[in-house]
Amino acid sequence: MSLADARPADLAAPPARQAEARKSRREARTRWWLATPALLTIAALSLLPLCIVILYSVLERDSYGGILWALSGEAWIEVFFQRDIFEGTLAPAGAHLAILWRSIRLALITTGLTLLIGVPTAYFIGTRPAHTRNLWLFAITVPFWTSLLIRIIAIGELIRRDGLVNAALLQMGLIDEPLQMLFTDFAIGLGMTYVYLPLMVLPVYAAVQRLDPRLMEAAYDLYASRARTFWRVILPLIRPGVIAGSLLVFIPSLGDYVTPRVLGGGSNLMIGNLIELQFGQGRNWPLGAALALTLMILIGLALIPCARLLRGKAAPHG
């Protein structure tokens, strides 16, 4: 509602009401001012680059890197198709699709594993007595003290052919020769699960903490087993936390670049690595931009069902 719309109604209203309306308008303006730095930051550092990426994705590539100022749809075609150099015919870009599929698959697996490990952990911490709870939370944040890169390299060391894990398995006689774990999808999944686990635990913990323990008692009193209490009472009530955690894990793991680079070796690329490749050795900036946008669209698609799940929860009574 603009000021012009508001005026006639205000004139008709008694003076006290007018003053009140003026005051609330003034407050609303003040609040907008408070948000200004954040809005400017978002505009400058997020919207502007996004516009540039969109623009680059529809320009022609310069074979020495960078772009030529001519409109072209080639980059978007290249995301999904391969052009035969001699005949000019299109075939599906098998390598890209494989990388895209690996990215989605690994991100989903990572989200699933962090759910499987993180939800019980968060529940455990959230139901501890108040003073021990902080100790457990502290333990969750300890890994952040060390650089991400070092932690991922350390995982690589552990699962090397002659690493600690293989040595232990050999020692126990569970395997006859070392397993190839490093430079596989398994290694990437393991690394991402490890790295993103706290992002699942923390929001779920916040939700668990708000749970009324008497609801669990009520379920238990009404003949529910532990499993039934979890599925029918606990899970629905911590759902917002679980969805938030899933998004916090799924989104960065879908676009992860460091973990596949270190643990996946050169051959197990994810979409993040593919994008980086286009801006580096590949010298195909428009394709890199188009791939980056494809990733964004994928994430947007993943958000839709989550938003619906959350709204479904909040809808009936606000």
């Binding site: 008497r214 609801l215 008692e217 238990y220 009193d221 009404l222 003949y223 039934r228 009530l237 009574h317």
Partner: protein, 357 residues
């Protein structure tokens, strides 16, 4: 029938241990409206939680139909609870809340539907079956909590101060409702309150508790007329407590001095040890001084408080003690009495109750 045999509950261990209940034995009969009454912190909730299965007794046995259930978890006891804050599932509708226990028990779908409808009718909430819990008033939530706990037809229903969150009018209404539900369903109710009036009006029997001890289990009338000790007498209704001095006991008779007046009483009415005389205000009458039979006291009127049908008369006795009498406003002796005047009171022998101090 459920029995507690010497049940004790100690929370914590070592120096920080709290004895919430010590050596409680009682029997609750089938179809009884049984009330646990006592001041805050006396262990009512602890006792109820042990019946429900949320706490395990430190000592003693809880026997239901001849079986010790003290170690049985809550989901395997035919006992349901109405929680103090209702603890309704906020993400479910009224009907889903009521159906929850039946679904846990794996009842067939059609049976659940019928039972939920029956329960909704029982608490007059048919029109709200598909409402979410958040959109309901305290009184409505109370009814849903009752329906939810009654739906699986438990042997015993536990209610922990279910009415304490309601305003007075709604409270009265729910008291009547609860009595009706108990009569209609024939389920044993174990009800917790610290409101003695509520306990007296609703219960078949009342257990009076104080500081982890069970003082007396009796019908409301017996608790009022024949309290087992000073604690119960003071907790139930109003009363005057007068010092008692036993001068002699010979055979069936005892000669005692109560508040300076001599009296001969049947020896069997005297408890062992120290004692006090309980006199209910409404059993005291205004009488000319020097009458015979019963206890006669005279003193100076301190105050007269008009309370509608009656007047509260506060009398200061010669030994300094104060006594309160409730005199009907029709009593001719009341005419002309004013603060500062002398007055004489009589207490019939059968209105004197000697209780252990």
């Amino acid at each position: 029938m459920i029995q507690l045999h010497s049940v004790s509950k100690i929370y914590g261990a070592g120096a920080g241990a709290v004895t919430a209940l010590s050596d409680v034995s009682l029997t609750i009969a089938e179809n009884e409206f049984f009330t646990l009454l006592g001041p805050s912190g006396c262990g009512k909730t602890t006792l109820l939680r042990m019946l429900a299965g949320f706490e395990v007794p430190s000592r003693g046995a809880i026997v239901l139909d001849g079986r010790d259930i003290a170690d049985l978890p809550p989901n395997r006891r035919p006992i349901n609870t109405v929680f103090q804050n209702y603890a309704l599932f906020p993400h479910m509708t009224v009907a889903q809340n009521i159906a929850f226990g039946l679904q846990s028990l794996g009842r067939p779908r059609a049976a659940i539907k019928a039972r939920v409808a029956e329960m909704l009718a029982l608490v007059a909430m048919e029109h709200l079956a598909d409402r979410k819990i958040a959109a309901m008033s305290g009184g409505q939530q109370q009814r849903v909590a009752l329906a939810r706990a009654l739906a699986p037809a438990p042997r015993i229903l536990l209610l922990d101060e279910p009415l304490s969150a309601l305003d007075l009018k709604l409270r009265r209404q729910m008291q009547i409702e609860l009595k009706r539900l108990q009569a209609e369903t024939g389920i044993t109710f174990v009800f917790v309150t610290h409101d003695q009036e509520e306990a007296l009006t609703m219960s078949d029997r009342i257990a009076v508790m104080g500081a982890g001890l069970l003082h007396q289990v009796a019908s409301p009338r017996d608790l009022y007329d024949r309290p087992a000790n000073r604690f119960v007498a003071g907790f139930i209704g109003e009363g005057n407590f007068l010092p008692v001095h036993v001068r002699s006991r010979d055979g069936a008779l005892a000669r005692v001095t109560i508040a300076g007046a001599d009296l001969t009483l049947p020896a069997e009415t005297l408890p062992a040890g120290e004692m006090q005389a309980l006199v209910r205000p409404e059993r005291i009458v205004l009488a000319p001084a020097g009458g015979t039979g019963g206890l006669h006291l005279s003193g100076v009127v301190e105050n007269l408080v008009y309370i509608g049908t009656d007047t509260h008369l506060h009398l200061r006795l010669p030994d300094g003690a104060q006594i309160t009498a409730r005199i009907g406003n029709g009593d001719p002796h009341l005419q002309g009495l004013a603060p500062g005047a002398r007055a004489a009171l009589a207490v019939p022998s059968d209105a004197l109750r000697l209780v252990p101090a």
